[in-house]
């Protein structure tokens, strides 16, 4: 299992087509872009992991405030260092592709927003999320007072079972009502 980095076999290609939402052209393009990230001697090895720093140089991710979270969520690395293999990279592109379903997209969005990986969005996660959205520097952040008001508003609206956190089903409940989500949760190479 796995692929040598320099070429992509025909059976591999059709397998990836079956397992992801990507078309043949997209997989080939992804492979081309991924190989560009590899160093010369890495190219001959199978299943190379590309460290997170090099992944983040992709222009598609460079200006995304959630780029580190995205890498961590899609990484299958045992050390949780956010490094990606080619297959992880395909997983990422598949979840962010046009044809991925709302359920897949909302599920991954939830995991991206769940900064501490504890399975719910609590106040801390929401605060980090809002900071990511408004910009990380001190002068772009909301004031603590505004932040408190905002988080109260969010929980008031979407925390249906009133346990102080937003869980996956509540999150999907909110997302499913937003027609904009599918079209904005997209990364195309």
């Amino acid at each position: 299992m796995g692929t040598t980095a320099s070429q992509l076999g025909k059976d591999m290609l059709s397998e990836y087509q079956e397992l992801t939402f990507l078309t043949k052209q997209e997989i080939l393009l992804a492979h081309k872009r991924f190989t560009e990230l590899l160093t010369r001697d890495e190219k001959d090895l199978a299943n190379t992991r590309v460290p997170i720093e090099r992944i983040l140089t992709l222009p598609e991710l460079k200006s995304n405030p959630f780029r580190k979270r995205i890498c961590h969520v899609f990484s299958t690395s045992e050390y949780k260092d956010g490094s990606l293999t080619f297959e992880d990279f395909l997983d990422l592109l598949s979840a962010f592709s046009d044809s991925a379903t709302l359920e897949i997209k909302s599920h991954y969005a939830f995991r991206i927003f769940d900064f501490d990986d504890d399975g719910t969005l609590d106040c801390g996660d929401l605060e980090k999320l809002v900071n990511c959205l408004t910009g990380e520097t001190d002068d772009t952040r909301l004031t603590p007072e505004e932040m408190r008001q905002l988080i109260n508003n969010i929980l008031e609206e979407s925390d249906i079972d009133k346990d102080g956190t937003v869980n996956l089903s509540e999150f999907q409940h909110v997302i499913s009502r937003s027609p904009d989500f599918v079209s904005s949760f997209k990364i195309v190479l």
């Binding site: 959205l133 905002l150 979407s158």
Partner: protein
């Protein structure tokens, strides 16, 4: 009963949002048993799921343990669910697939063959869908615009593309119903052949007179030819073509409006998920440009601040004193008077310009430029008014002390009113004027519509190339000059541009009866507009400071389009109805409806030729005896839908209550379990407390 549940809910929610959030719940979801709950397991990333795998994969323990942590667990509910729909990594999907293959071989050859067939079929469909969506024009451009300027601007371009498609459809219908039969069966013998020459000049293409007047562009061309059966003749086809266009458009636009409406308005308002949308769906992952990303950050920040401000604004509004309130209402009253007087002035100006343009003397006496200007005076006035007043309205609404969203909406509503009403008034005056002329009235009317279309396009063209582009150049070359600073950076004002589109489409709908090739002209001008606007957006504009939500604004756009369509239909109906009485005596007959025929009696001839049962059926369908049951049936259907909606509403409320209850039960049980566990594990730590308590108790008793 209901009161009780409501009270209960409120108690619970207050309790949980204020006191328990910080201390209690934190403790609650950090307990061990919380991690073992099936609902939590389902949402966990698969790596961290390893230790508890044995717990959750119940039914076939032998098979599951082989695949270890990679099994999809509770996610793999439906074995027919495509692999790509599962939220696991590729390696995980592979092992799931291996397992499934085993199942398939158990199931048998026939089922497996059918399944693979369905997969290939699905893939073929997907490919066809992909190829079809690739055929949609400008996909790439839209993508680029979306990436740099976000949804709002893209929504404008999507609307533009939709209008181009709509006009293409109109063109097909026109060719099928009107132009085709005329080409095939020829025109009436009295009509002269079409040729360019004599007094014709290039100017005619701007004025719609001369050569163009006799060409297929206008109504007059379509005189009845050899196709002259009782139920299939040129007038009937002409009428059928126009009616089909209007009905089809009505259905299409209503459908698009309601689809969007269903998505946003009802659901969004009813359950008020506004802030959660802004947070959870706020980031546009398609953005690649760092500058666009900073812009998006500031969009979101502004939007959130705006929301928070509006929340406190409504608080402040509730606390206003009586005196303040009276003063504010007086101010609003005067500002509304001002708006009304501005509108009145604008309408008078349009009336004046129309009069002036129709009153021109003998054409030979004046220079061609003066004629051109005079001819174009009404469109110029209308465009001028429509260009100026919305900006004034925007300024006025900022004094009214409304919340910001309300300001934008007020401006938009006033501008829509201005646009459509000014068009209506113009049409009305034209029609009054045209009545006492001896030429083909319909052609004259069509000519006015033609001029409006051409002029609007010319304005867009000049605006882009002679105003916006030099402005941008000036800013690039001399960024520090006074003029550049005075002008500031230009934004792409989505609402005003959409107003323009709606306006031009309304003109096209009004004019299609008199100028059947207007949709074709519309396709050409709209396509050109697309490229012009693309140029001015990508080249000249910076993104706006205010954010537009794609979906909700496109609902508004389509609603405006619908208003335009209704107005077009109303105007058309009014115009057709008007000359009915004096029709026979002095009207110069032209176009398809000659020989005393008109729009209203042309179907009568056909109906008369039908066999008597069909005739009586038709007359029954026409009568009020049929209308009454129809209305009754509609009322019954509506009532049933409304009551069903109410029942669903109640069920939703009840389910929410149940959810709160069961969640609090769960929380209670988890807490109880943890305390029990703790007591079991370190009894020594619990005991001192108990002893202490015991020690404290005796003296009291």
């Amino acid at each position: 009963m209901e009161n009780k549940t409501v009270n209960f809910m409120r108690l619970l929610s207050e309790d949980s949002t204020h006191s328990t959030v910080s201390s209690d719940s934190c403790e609650y979801y950090q307990t061990e048993i919380f991690d073992l709950l099936p609902s939590i397991q389902a949402s966990r990333p698969e790596q961290s799921r390893k230790p508890s795998e044995a717990y959750q994969d119940g039914p076939v323990p032998g098979e599951e343990s082989i695949h270890g942590h990679l099994s999809s667990g509770p996610r793999d509910k439906a074995p027919t669910q495509p692999l790509r729909n599962m939220v696991i990594c590729i390696q995980g999907k592979r092992s799931v697939r291996d397992r499934r293959k085993m199942q398939i071989s158990d199931i048998g050859f026939w089922v497996s063959w059918r399944r693979s067939q369905s997969i290939t079929m699905k893939r073929v469909w997907e490919q066809m869908g992909g190829a079809l969506s690739g055929l949609l024009p400008w996909q790439h451009t839209l993508h680029a615009i979306e990436g740099r300027y976000g949804f709002g601007v893209k929504a404008y371009f999507v609307l533009l593309r939709y209008l181009v498609n709509l006009n293409l459809l109109h063109c097909a219908l026109i060719f099928g119903f009107i132009v085709g039969p005329t080409i095939f069966y020829g025109r009436s013998k009295s009509s002269e052949p079409l040729k360019f020459g004599g007094n014709d000049s290039v100017l005619d293409f701007f004025l719609g007179s001369g050569y163009l007047d006799r060409s297929p562009v206008f109504y007059c061309f379509y005189t009845p030819g050899s196709l002259n059966m009782q139920c299939l003749n040129t007038p009937l086809l002409y009428l059928a073509g126009i009616l089909t266009i209007l009905f089809l458009t009505l259905i299409l636009v209503v459908r698009r409006t309601t689809v969007g409406y269903k998505h946003t308005w009802m659901l969004g308002k009813q359950y008020s998920m506004n802030v959660s949308y802004k947070i959870f769906c706020g980031w546009d992952f398609t953005i690649q440009d760092p500058a666009a990303a900073t812009l998006k950050h500031s969009f979101i920040r502004n939007d959130l601040k705006l929301f928070l401000e509006e929340q406190s604004f409504s608080l402040r509004e509730a606390q206003r004193t009586l005196g303040q309130r009276v003063r504010l209402y007086l101010l609003r009253f005067f500002l509304n008077l001002l708006v009304l007087s501005l509108l009145g002035g604008a309408f008078y100006l349009i009336y004046f310009a129309t009069n002036k343009s129709q009153d021109q003397g003998i054409p030979g006496e004046r220079q061609w430029l003066v004629i051109l200007v005079l001819q174009y005076l009404p469109p110029i006035t209308i465009s001028f008014v429509n260009l100026l007043l919305p900006h004034i309205f925007r300024k006025i609404s900022s004094f009214e002390d409304y919340s910001f969203t309300m300001q934008v909406n007020a401006t938009l509503v006033r501008s829509i009113f201005l646009k459509l009403a000014s068009l209506g008034i113009y049409l009305f005056f034209i029609f009054k004027h045209l009545k006492d002329q001896s030429q083909c009235l319909e052609n004259l009317f069509g000519r006015e519509m033609y001029k409006l279309c051409i002029f609007n396009f010319l304005t867009a063209f000049c605006n882009a190339f002679f105003l916006n582009y030099p402005r941008k150049l000036l800013q690039e070359k001399y960024p520090s000059s006074l003029l550049a600073q005075l002008w500031g950076k230009q934004c792409f004002l989505v609402p005003f541009n959409v107003l323009d589109l709606v306006y031009i489409q309304t003109v096209s709908w009004v004019g299609v009866f008199y100028c059947p090739l207007l949709p074709l002209i519309g396709v050409v001008t709209l396509t050109a507009t697309f490229y012009i606007q693309k140029f001015s957006v990508l080249r000249c504009c910076v993104a706006e400071q205010r954010m537009f939500r794609g979906s909700s604004s496109s609902v508004l756009f389509h609603f405006m389009l619908l208003l335009g369509l209704l107005m077009a239909v109303a105007t058309l109906g009014f115009n057709l109805y008007q000359p009915r009485e004096p029709a026979c005596n002095h009207r110069f007959s032209c176009g398809p409806f000659g020989n005393g025929q008109n729009v209203f009696n042309v179907t009568g001839v056909c109906v008369d030729s039908l066999p008597s049962p069909a005739q009586s059926t038709l007359s029954y369908l026409n009568s009020s005896a049929f209308a009454l049951p129809l209305i009754l049936a509609e009322i019954i259907i509506l009532t049933s839908y409304v009551s069903r909606g109410r029942a669903n509403q109640k069920a939703i409320e009840r389910l929410k209550d149940m959810l709160v209850m069961s969640s609090s039960d769960k929380r209670f049980l988890v807490k109880q379990h943890t305390t029990l566990l703790r007591r079991q594990r370190n009894p020594c730590r619990v005991r001192p407390a108990a002893i202490e308590e015991n020690q404290r108790l005796p003296p009291e008793s």
